[in-house]
Symmetry: C2
Subunit: 207 residues, 2 copies
Amino acid sequence: MARQGRPGASGISTSERILDAALVSFATRGYEASSLDVLAAGLEIRKQTILYWFPSKEILLEAVIDRSAVELSAALEHSLTTAGGGWSRVDAVVRSVFRLAARRPELLGLVREMGRLGTPAATRLVVALEPLVVRASDFLEGEMDAGHMRRHEPRLLLLAIYSTVIGMLTEVEVLRAFGEEPTARSLVRRRNEILELLRSALVTGPG
Amino acid sequence: MARQGRPGASGISTSERILDAALVSFATRGYEASSLDVLAAGLEIRKQTILYWFPSKEILLEAVIDRSAVELSAALEHSLTTAGGGWSRVDAVVRSVFRLAARRPELLGLVREMGRLGTPAATRLVVALEPLVVRASDFLEGEMDAGHMRRHEPRLLLLAIYSTVIGMLTEVEVLRAFGEEPTARSLVRRRNEILELLRSALVTGPG
DNA sequence: AGATCTGTCTACCATATGGTAAGTGACCAA
DNA sequence: TTGGTCACTTACCATATGGTAGACAGATCT
């Protein structure tokens, strides 16, 4: 892994700036379509400075993934662990994902990009997020056992929730086709729509 | 648009073979990451033959999109128009999307790729599929008015359904992370899971 | 037979790509 | 003062990219 490099007068270190820009580019244009030259130009440094901190493009990708995985875990783990039981915890997690999407959309974009970054890059991200999946899945199963939620296969249910949330957060072009502009207001509407849907799909008893 | 070119002895015309291969490559590797040289090599022709039929890479993309839009519309329009009313129509449409995913996964992959193919390519696909969206949206609204389905904003509901289905069909890497192998058996399980979920989320009255 | 059209090819080209090698200046410890 | 490390640079390079120009064989038309 690349060492840190102290922050210059500018505030954040060069390597951090590179990671930030690379994350955005990988998440929006895609890894293969991102070029080190363009990246460097955007940062007003030379390409070789990038290669100084990250000896190859692939190593840069790995660094981006590792850092993003940490950030993603941090954002989710809190609400997944501490929020109340039953539906209110699902609600809390979904809300925190939406909050994350508003603050750092690139992170969700990178997750969506996973599919194209075949092995081993995708594996790296998957492995890093695995504990989260396990925890979420166990939680859902427990709630079903307790009769608080309709019975489904926890993993598949989780996959469905994931797909819905990620899709509604990242598919900007499709959004437009469906008449939604990617504004903050729209984000809230989409969040509420998902919550309603999930609630009526999952919660048992009087609605 | 490129003319057709009669089919050689081999069966299908060169231009069709190019479109097929390009669709697969665009859908899996992405447009920018697909190279004409590699495409040509896979077809055992020279790159210039591709450029003969499609004068530029972008024109090739447009042709791929146009053809795919036709195929997508055809696959969906039938079940969207003819299947029974209420829930059974939603059921029929979802099933036909899954059938399409089994037969021609590239088509769904291309749709998912839309986001990265910014304007005007994405617009092209969106415009071509717009009538489908309108019809589906109107149908949902009608069912809600009739009290057959829980009230939601039709467009947002459609977007959520779209996200879920596309996600569960195309996010192979995530699938693995969630313990699902991309087999035919798994496809059926995922389909049934989605149908159950949607049913409990949408259908009113005794479940 | 000669001219034309069609489909594919070889030969190039300018540019962009990821990456190597070797510098340069600032700072720091001896 | 000098030697070394750090952060970043200029100078290259082999390869791959999308695309142009034009040759060539076979079919079709006159």
